[in-house]
Point group: C2
């Protein structure tokens, strides 16, 4: 299992229609084949400047690559993410029993 997460901040006014529209568009990514446990999240710690997050899981690297290369994902990145996201950080996790 690979958990792909991204924390981000939008250029939109908090609570605006534009903000909600972006988040709704982001949620459509959940429909891409192989995406599991998709979550749309609000980032609530004051120790960083991000305000939202997305989290999803993939069974393996092949499923992750299929998502990354999927035309619906690449179109979202070009048409929505790049124009509307001010800053972001991607963090990917796999289980690690010490």
């Amino acid at each position: 299992m690979i958990r792909h997460t991204v924390a981000f901040r939008l250029k939109h006014i908090p609570g605006s229609t534009a903000e909600r529209d972006f988040l709704q568009a982001a949620c459509e990514l959940a429909k891409i084949e192989g995406v599991q446990k998709f979550e749309c999240l609000r980032q609530s710690s004051r120790k960083n400047s991000f305000t939202f997050g997305l989290s999803m899981e993939f069974a393996d690297e092949a499923a992750y690559t299929f998502y990354n290369d999927h035309p619906e994902h690449t179109a979202f990145v070009q048409q929505r993410w790049i124009p509307e996201v001010v800053e972001f950080m991607e963090l990917d996790y796999v289980a690690n029993a010490p």
Copy 2:
């Protein structure tokens, strides 16, 4: 539900006994009352410099505060986290249906 996560990088050599010892000590935090779904994770994205992560969930702010203030947590921060962690980022998430 509040999901508390932290991505971090240790000063220890990867694969070292010191690294494993730190991670095992971190896993002990799972025993603090109110901690749910505790996960010890490896950070695998090359788009950031963190190598490990912890994730846990709390029912509410009161449970999160209880954990934060718990003597076993504050001792871990002072005795292990501060001396052994080079850099970290905390991200907290709550559900956000747009």
